[in-house]
Symmetry: C2
């Protein structure tokens, strides 16, 4: 029986002798991972027979954390400290050898790009735990982690060069008419071949155990994303199986064990979000109530309450108001195709809304995968102006289904909207705070990002001029009054340019709910679509 | 002590002698009202000290119904039988004289225009209890019932001549800058004058009792609406008081007693809907949690589960998913001003959605009260095409605030959209069933009302031609296939005309999600806005 602190091989060896002493010497940054390794040879099912938890305590704060079996007689307990100072722990197990193991470590402040776990902030938006605002600008690569090593490297490189800070990805491999790649590794150990429900030969699995190596690979991928500052919006279940592996039709008992296991392994990864399912309603083998039960199981198992949601097919909503969902992860085009609709669901749910699928830029036959880059960019902006977030997606296929279609496989971006997503992120991050409609349900184009900070988006409209004018209402901020001076920048959301207008504008008094420039000044616009304005107050 | 069955004065007298015998002889139609009168002289507070309920039983069906004190030593118990056959009852009270009173009556099938209570049907829509579809086409006259007798008569006459089948109205009188009329009668008995919170003199009330006469007047008004086939969407609380009567700032104890009293009096009125509040969030004296508690109290008190909701100010949503709300009663323009947004909330809530305020046709300065008739009509159609319902409203003031502005006071319609509301109702009622989006989130203009029945609405678009084409998807109905023959009618929603196109169209095979006429026939359109098409299959 050994206790190993995996930071450094040399330290690990020393640990065998001075475990507790060294544990206290090995500082861990806030929201980084602390890991305990315990060895115990057990002849039965180490995954399910052995109960192992640890209680971590730092003054008046305690967490009860599940351990898990990592194969080869090794049990692990991982912990994400959220608070600096000394953490002590004590394990609890139904096996003597794993029970009452004690230790401690020092948690030091986060540094560098470590801003902590992302959480809901101010009802509709997100912040890192250190207080830095987080604006989700995500993309989708459902099965990038199941592709060849080369494709995986390309994907990480693509993401690194992009402005994305979230990626939707599946734990289980994906079978689809455009995605036929066989993964290298599986979450369960194969026991041979069997006849699937469709009569075809397929691998059979030992569903009583997991394949730890599969999860170690996934963890490495999530850590790679973390290095890039990208949140892994991890999809736990999906319908894209069609009897090929049978992972969509596991028994509920196995589903719950899988949840317990993956949450024990991954909840200490600060950049993990739980997406209970993609297109839950298309999974034939689970009922609506099964999904609610699985969602609650994830929330119950996760001591840190990572962001969690579930995602349906087009316009298929679920009870996003349940506490097990921190935000709404929606597939629906309607809220972002036309003016003013994005904010409606934000107002209804009183939670952050991410339109995680609104169609894809691409050249597929299917209507979901053939938007122009302009259209995809437009939809992202339409969501943003409503105080919500739209996830990007790209589906270009130039040869045949062996092409790396980014939507499922990752690889390299071939479209044009991915760059504009990064530009939109920049605009959001340059605002004092998250956008909200300035004059909700009346002015569908103007958003406030703080006192004296407005973004006006014209969408597909092509205008010659804009009369300087702003609504009196200003979202949750102070109403606009006369005598305020503003500068204006013209943002070309497609060409990604920001052009300052040299004039300074000054608000006159309120005229029918709006304030114009006192000299009725106007701005010449370049008569292109997809323009926005950034109107910022000049403090005197 | 007497038992009186109020149907007929002669019978009432006989009842004193042969109460139970006669009760059994006096048949009551399903969903009509059966009433027991009991007399008991009590020296204390008859409203609150005396508990009185009756259990009504018909075979395996039982209802426990609250009685109430109606003044002058008279207690009443009212019951709405939903099932034909013999109903027996027995009373229960903490006063011997009112306890264990028994009787029975015969419930006979409904006849004539009595279709029963309206309930939610098929998740998103409504039906009368007898199975007849109910499409809410409502208007608003918040305080018509507090106006002069003459105005009340005008209002009823206006409603009779309209196509409206629902009206929003308040129990408490309304104080607003455009509504200053003093009501003739109040829900509480005045005890003199006092200084209000604003320092002004106002009536003081004995809040420990109710004024039964006030409620009798309200009941008569609701019965008058019932005769016209109009549902009374009865608003129990509202913020339009401003210290004038103080009915917005009653203690929660009085609020709960008021709910118990009014529900006991009115739940046997089949055309009553409970609107817990109008603009609940603008009431200064109650918290969000108070509103939830009051909403639950209404649901708990009502043995018939009348339709119930609550209404906020613009874009102010509440937890409409709670079981105490049968539908969402929303104030928000955004869902009906632009394409495709109305259906979003229907999909999210999985309940019927009524946009009970989206602004008013009128000539007021306020932007909420100055739509054109065309705009009001447009908004009603935009809701309808999304499978939701939009309530009409009218706010014309030609002289000053003493004018009867229909929105608050009723009177006579002065606008143009009220007629179009009736026309829309006709179109809805001529469909086989409620409309739903044919191809949700993709085609924002086409709704299905059953197999082979489509309504296509063009809104403000002005088109020269329409190429016959329909989506393959058909909501919850069978997908459209080739070889189906259709006739087309052009509906002018503004001019209220329906023009048949003489051609017959036949669907070709599916072409990129849609089916065109096999000869690619098109229809010449009259180049007006606000047109719709009704496309109906010709069965061979």
């Amino acid at each position: 029986m050994q206790i190993i602190f995996k930071r450094n091989l040399f330290l690990s060896l020393l640990c065998m002798l001075f475990a507790d002493f060294l544990a206290a010497q090995q500082p861990v940054e806030q929201w980084n991972r602390f890991e305990i390794e315990l060895k115990h040879a057990y002849r039965g099912n180490s995954f399910h027979d052995i109960k192992l938890t640890a209680k971590f305590t730092n003054k008046d704060t305690s967490y009860l954390v599940d351990g898990f079996f990592d194969g080869n007689g090794i049990f692990k307990i991982r912990f994400m400290p959220e608070k600096t100072g000394t953490w002590t722990y004590v394990t609890s197990s139904n096996v003597n050898a794993l029970n009452n193991r004690k230790g401690s470590f020092e948690c030091i402040p986060a540094s560098g790009r470590n801003h902590g776990i992302v959480r809901v902030s101010n009802i509709y938006s997100f912040k890192y735990a250190d207080g830095k605002q987080y604006y989700p600008v995500g993309t989708t690569a459902y099965a990038w982690n199941h592709m060849s090593q080369e494709t995986q490297q390309f994907t990480l490189q693509s993401l690194k060069n992009s402005g994305f800070n979230k990626v939707r990805m599946c734990v289980f491999p994906k079978e689809y008419n455009l995605v036929k790649e066989e993964p290298e590794i599986y979450p369960f150990v194969s026991t041979g071949m069997e006849k699937g429900p469709d009569g075809k030969e397929r691998k059979s699995w030992d569903l009583s155990t997991f394949n730890p190596e599969f999860f170690r690979v996934l963890e490495k991928q999530i850590d790679e994303l973390n290095k890039l500052g990208i949140e892994a919006d991890l999809i736990l279940f999906h319908p894209y199986d069609k009897g090929r592996w049978g992972f969509d039709s596991l028994s509920m008992d196995v589903n719950f064990k899988y949840i317990k296991y993956i949450v024990a392994r991954l909840s200490s990864f600060r950049n993990v979000w739980w997406s209970i399912a993609n297109e839950w309603d298309l999974v034939k083998y689970k009922t609506h109530d099964d999904w609610i039960a699985l969602s609650k199981a994830v929330a119950a198992a996760d001591p840190y309450h990572h962001l969690a949601s579930i995602h349906g097919s087009t316009a298929k909503y679920i009870e996003y108001w349940l506490p097990c969902y921190t935000h709404a992860s929606i597939q629906d085009e309607a809220p972002v195709m036309n003016w003013g609709a994005a904010a409606i669901l934000r107002n209804a749910y009183q939670k952050p809304v991410i339109y995680d699928e609104v169609g894809y830029e691409g050249n597929l036959q299917s209507r979901w995968g053939r938007y122009s880059g302009e259209e995809m960019t437009y939809l992202m902006w339409m969501g943003a102006i409503g105080g919500t977030y739209v996830t990007h997606g790209e589906a270009f296929m130039f040869k045949d289904a062996t092409d790396t279609i980014f939507w499922a496989k990752g690889g390299m971006f071939k479209g044009s909207s991915w760059k504009r997503a990064g530009f939109l992120r920049r605009i959001m991050e340059e605002a004092p705070g998250p956008l909200e409609m300035s004059d909700v349900s009346r002015d569908f184009k103007t958003a406030s990002g703080g006192d004296g900070h407005y973004i006006i988006y014209f969408g597909k409209e092509i205008n010659t001029y804009w009369d300087f004018n702003l609504p009196q209402k200003n979202g949750s901020f102070s109403r606009l009054t006369s005598g305020k001076k503003f500068k204006v920048e013209i943002i070309d959301t497609w060409n990604m340019t920001i052009t300052s207008v040299s004039d300074v504008f000054e608000t006159a008094s309120v005229e029918d709910y709006r304030l114009f420039d006192k000299e009725r000044k106007k701005i010449r616009l370049p008569m292109n679509p997809y323009l926005a304005l950034r109107v910022t107050e000049r403090k005197q």
